[in-house]
Amino acid sequence: MEGHDVAHHGGAAGHHEWEVSLWPLLLSVSVLFVLPFPFALYFVYKSGLLAVLALGIGVPLLTVSLVGWVSEAIKGRNVNSVEQGLGTGAVPFFIVAEAFIFAGFLAAYWATRLLAPSWPPAGTPHISMTIPVIMTIILVSSSVTIHFAEEKLEHNNVSGFISWLIVTIVLGAVFFLISAYEWSHLMGAGFTFSTNIYGSSFFSITGFHASHVIVGLTGFIAVLIPALRGTVSKNFVKSVSVYWHFVDIVWFFVVSQVYFW
């Protein structure tokens, strides 16, 4: 077990200083100002101004703490050397949790759909089947290209790795843009998440998937920027690419259930 070795031979046992970091606390506080406060102020208390004010506090705080966290990790100052090696061990468990978010939404979708007297419910416009096919091809290709990138990295070909990584990022971005185009197109045709239960399910499920695409792309960019400066963490690449394959697999469920069924 590689992780085991890293864990016990990575650094001296027993430090003499308490490990401290400012960023977890700051990040947690910023979350309050980025999510619940603006949401409640805008949607519950109908005060756009206060919502923007909360975001004005939250977003800079979030950015500062994320940047601080990442740079602390890169610098390796007060980092437990263990962290680097165990990331790949932890990602599968994180993905299990992620998978069950989709399972929850899909189960809800199946339940309402199987109990519905007719499907699709009234008010649903025609949804193009060409777009999801194109999106599937793009996303599967990006899964293949990130695999190529990893292979280049295995052979210590960093420039080849960077090229394939950029191709993957472009494919992912195109996927997201098509998704956004489809959303705006459907909304333009009067189909929104409040039209009927299909609209609610469609936009939530594809929206949650798109948000995962964004997270994956952010991860790739976090790999790309240090890579351009010549530092690549193989473990981190592995973690992000496993996550990306997961986003790809979930898409099969989304496309087969929400579009083609």
Binding site: H16, V82, E83
Partner: protein, 532 residues
């Protein structure tokens, strides 16, 4: 605490607030969860005073009563029990019990801690905002959607605490798998480690589904989706299913760690190996695996075909088999042990007793034919308070009293501790045993008044008296801890004579726990006397 003598107050404060150390994170979890416990306990007292007489007692406004119910349930479960067991105890104990210098991701651990605290802050805003949530911690639609209560704050409290749970779970699962000391094989792990491991698996699978349920709820209320509105093709019962798909397994997230700590305390004070260790471990894993197949019993009265009721009755009763195996192991650990009735042991034995009553009264609840009659009565309230609420709290008390010397280097006064236990134990039983009777007589739960049923007043007064006794007991416990912190005797490294690994560190343990990674080749956490 054990910072170098020359360290100033500012440095100590910084080392606590910005800490990434698992022990300090654990203690800060404990402080947060005790804060939630106190405020939620206060709500319980308000509820009890309100119900102590027919007619409006404290308030004539059912909405106010609903807010108390909401805060009591949400804060006790999400703010106290789950964080105290999977936050405080797991964080403090697991690295020490497996011989690791910290958790796998110390900063992520600090993030979990502070997100949990932000959840507490959000929950406490209930008392500040003009539209506090008033729909219990279950937040069933359609009421939670049409109510003027703030569903958004409820949703975000759940989401933030849920994320903290998931991050904590990933962290500790990784720790247990990859960071065990050399020689610490899976078959040498403490029962607490095994049980918590199983609980974290349950959390990873089920918390996200609660996340989707409450997200849909808030989308429905504020963004106009129609998941739970039948008029547009949605389904109200869908929410109940998604909610209980998490919230029944949440019971096992509480149960498994609390049985785990009770195992360790009982083995230590009975000076005995865990009886049938392997079966108990398989029991814990089986509970985790089966936790997802019982949730529909919460919906017996909500309406479903009979064949589902029967299937769910069988599957619900089935899960009591592995739980029973674990109980037998616990009792077997006492058998022929040299039992020492120190205060942690009393709490652990109290927990076993309360859990047994709660478990046995769960059987009639599981039988759909009986449950249809006692559903939403105080019988159910008494059942889940026995099996989860007070049993879990007793286990937390056992854990805190057990670890107190290790955490703070001070011994609790045995006399005050035992007094606290006895008073709490009497109070808990007076309260919740009476509740069974008033429930069987038909007193519905969640009602703020019972003018139509004045015959329930006598028992309700008894329950209220019990609640005050219980509150007094917890107050004595709190005093015993403060007394110990201020004037407690200095603790040695292993005051209880335990064989477990956490007692081999210095007291309190410094950064990194051990100077050298311990060698566990010949280690046995339960190797007492002739069992070695």
């Amino acid at each position: 605490m054990s910072a170098p003598a020359q360290a100033g107050f500012g440095k100590v404060l910084k080392e606590w607030i910005f800490t990434c150390d698992h022990k300090r994170v654990g203690i800060l979890y404990l402080i947060g969860s005790l804060a939630a416990f106190l405020v939620a306990g206060l709500m319980a007292m308000l509820i009890r005073v309100e119900l102590s007489s027919v007619g409006p007692t404290l308030t004539a406004n059912p909405g106010t009563y609903n807010v108390w119910l909401y805060f009591h349930g949400a804060a006790m479960i999400l703010g106290f029990q789950i964080p105290a067991l999977t936050g405080f105890l797991a964080n403090y104990l697991i690295p020490l019990q497996i011989g690791a210098k910290d958790v796998a991701f110390p900063r992520l651990n600090a993030l979990s801690l502070w997100l949990f605290w932000m959840g507490i802050v959000l929950a406490l805003l209930t008392f500040v905002i003009p539209d506090p949530p008033d729909f219990m911690w279950t937040a069933y639609p359609p009421y939670s959607i049409i109510s003027s209560g703030n569903t958004a704050f409820y949703t975000f409290t759940v989401l933030i605490m849920g994320f903290a749970s998931i991050a904590g779970g990933v962290n500790l699962i990784t720790t247990i798998i990859y960071m065990r000391a050399p020689g610490m094989t899976w078959s040498k792990l403490n029962m607490f480690v095994w049980c918590t491991f199983a609980a974290f698996i349950v959390q990873l699978i089920f918390v996200p589904v609660l996340g989707t349920a409450v997200t849909m709820l808030t989308f429905d209320k504020y963004l106009g989706t129609t998941f739970f509105s039948p008029g547009s093709g949605g389904d109200v019962l869908l929410y109940q299913n998604l909610f209980w798909f998490y919230s029944h397994p949440a019971v096992y997230v509480i149960l498994l760690p609390f049985l785990g700590i009770v195992f360790d305390v009982v083995a230590t004070f009975a000076r005995n190996r865990v009886f049938n260790y392997k079966a108990a471990v398989y029991g814990a894993i089986a509970v985790a695996l089966m936790s997802g197949e019982v949730w529909i019993h919460h919906l017996y009265a909500s309406g479903m075909p009979d064949w589902i009721r029967i299937g769910m009755m069988i599957s619900t009763i089935l899960i009591s088999v592995p739980v029973g195996v674990m109980m037998i192991s616990l009792v077997g650990t006492l058998y022929r042990g040299a039992i020492d009735f120190k205060s942690p042991m009393l709490w652990a034995l109290g927990c076993m007793f309360l859990f047994l009553i709660g478990g046995l009264t769960g059987i009639p609840n599981a039988m759909s034919a009986i449950d249809l009659h006692i559903h939403d009565t105080h019988f159910v309230v008494a059942h889940f308070h026995y099996v989860m609420a007070v049993a879990g709290t007793f286990a937390v008390m056992a854990g805190v009293t057990y670890l107190f010397p290790k955490m703070f280097g001070k011994m609790c006064n045995e006399g005050i501790s035992k007094l606290g236990f006895v008073v709490t134990f009497i109070g808990a039983n007076v309260t919740f045993f009476s509740m069974f009777f008033v429930g069987l007589q038909g007193m519905p739960r969640r009602y703020f008044d019972y003018q139509q049923f004045p015959q329930f007043q006598g028992l309700n007064q008894l329950i209220t008296v019990g609640a005050f006794i219980m509150a007094l007991g917890f107050l004595i416990v709190l005093i015993s801890w403060i007394h110990a912190l201020v004037a407690g005797k200095k603790a040695v490294d292993n005051p209880w004579g335990s064989r477990s690994l956490e007692w081999t560190t210095s007291t309190p343990p410094g950064p990194g726990n051990w100077a050298e990674v311990p060698d566990c080749t010949n280690f046995d956490p339960y190797g007492y006397g002739s069992n070695k």
